[in-house]
Amino acid sequence: MDPDVVISIRDLVKTFPDREGRDVKVLDGVSFDIRRGETLVIMGGSGCGKSTLLNCLIGEYRINGGSTLYRTSDMDAPVDLAGLTDAELDRVRLRFGILFQSGALFNSLSVAENVALPLREHTSVDPSVIDIIVTLKLQQVKMLPHRDKMPSQLSGGQKKRAGLARATALDPEILFYDEPSAGLDPVTSAAIDELMIDFSRKLSVTSIVVTHEMDSAFRIADRMVMLEKGRVLRIGERQEFERLRDADPATLNTDADRLLNQFLNGASSGPLTDRDGLSMFEKLLIEG
């Protein structure tokens, strides 16, 4: 494994049983590397498997085939999440933070207590120091005035900011973002993007962002991955995706390029949809 690579995904397969109990592949042979310090955006249409991929990467789902190798700075050799026990998996999890779609704050705790919880649980730092760290983390995400509020008193954007403060409480090396812009107005969404860029640049954090908000994706990405039907359709630098987005579809030579062009522009017609406006996924469902 290249020392610049922090996560290496190889031939990853994830299946789920359907109603008849037959295994259906949601991820089918996904392979790519995530480099240390980069911001990688994983995108794709609904049902393409991007959330499943994120859940596999954070150890929420056990994979059915392939490997997800991690090599954080404290590891002598790469470890495969698939082969770890729960206790070993928890040790790897301490090196990453996750911002969930809803913020996922603990409703019974205040904002400050939410941020302090990982510190209390996983460090032996004095409570007064924890209080200082919490203040700093909340300041970073501009949530200090709301430190004593309960999650039910916060707006969607504030919940995500607080969730981000909690995700960074243990100074993680890798940050996962699950649909960070979902349900937010454009201004709040841009503010969250700024925070993500800030964390990435100032703290040299590796960021993996799952989104289908294209404006946000092009603002934050160093590289991008497009998933289609559980496979990697394209992976590349942001500039490459920008060129594909801005290209005239008539000048594109491959189906993959035309499909990407349609997706990146959010066009209603193209290879992703037929004349009836159905996506390939919907057609498959209808045709059985």
Partner: protein, 284 residues
Amino acid sequence: MTDPSASDRSRAARGVIAVGRFVDGRVRGMRSFIATFGALAELLGQTLRSCGPALLRKKSRLGRESLLDQMVRVGVRSIGIVVLVQIFIGIIIALQMAPTLQQYGQLERVADVVGIAVVRELGPLITAIVLSGFAGASIAAEIGSMVEGEEIKALRAHAMNPVRFLVVPRFLATVVMLTGLCVIADIVGVLGGMITAVLVLDIGAPVYLEFTRQALKFSDFYGGLVKAAVFGLTISMIACHEGFSVSGGAEGVGRATTSTVVKSIVALIAVDVVFTIIFYVFKI
């Protein structure tokens, strides 16, 4: 014209298909039952293993605070309804048994019947059934909402075991408080019988209490308490399991609460049957 033999064949085929579907349905149901039973046993194992760390580790503040919260919610808030129900049970048993006992000239023995029925059986069982609706449903709804709000995922993502943080306090609170409530239920149930005896059956309170004292053995009392503890374990495991299994948003949370109450009541009666057989065989 329709070919009669073809019609017979299709009728036979439909019959075979119907039988096949019936068998398939039963097999699936059995598999689902075994899977649920296995999942409950696994959850119980994880909970018992996590009890030590949850109570002893200094850092697990959430767990210990939550234990007190849960004890208040599960136990203290249920006292009123348990008292009310058990008084009614005492009154009902006394009034139901009085005519028959009077025929034999043994009206005072109503104290024996109420005492044994309440302390051995109805104290723990009725309290547990009340608690399955009162606390079990709310535990399932609370954990289910946390699943939907990604809080459980967030706990795991922060390397924190949801069983230790969420199940252990609810498990301990339900077991401890149901046992405590059972003591209250026993006293109040006997009291309900005594009120009826004094006001309706014209039996003096000292006579009633003396007959109750003579009828009851210590093993009746602690046997009931052991039952109550196991009932608490049963309710908490089913409620937490149903909560963790929630999917499909608010509708899923609603389904989990209903399912918790139904499964708990069936399980409580099944466990009670096992206890009754054991107590009968070993003459406890």
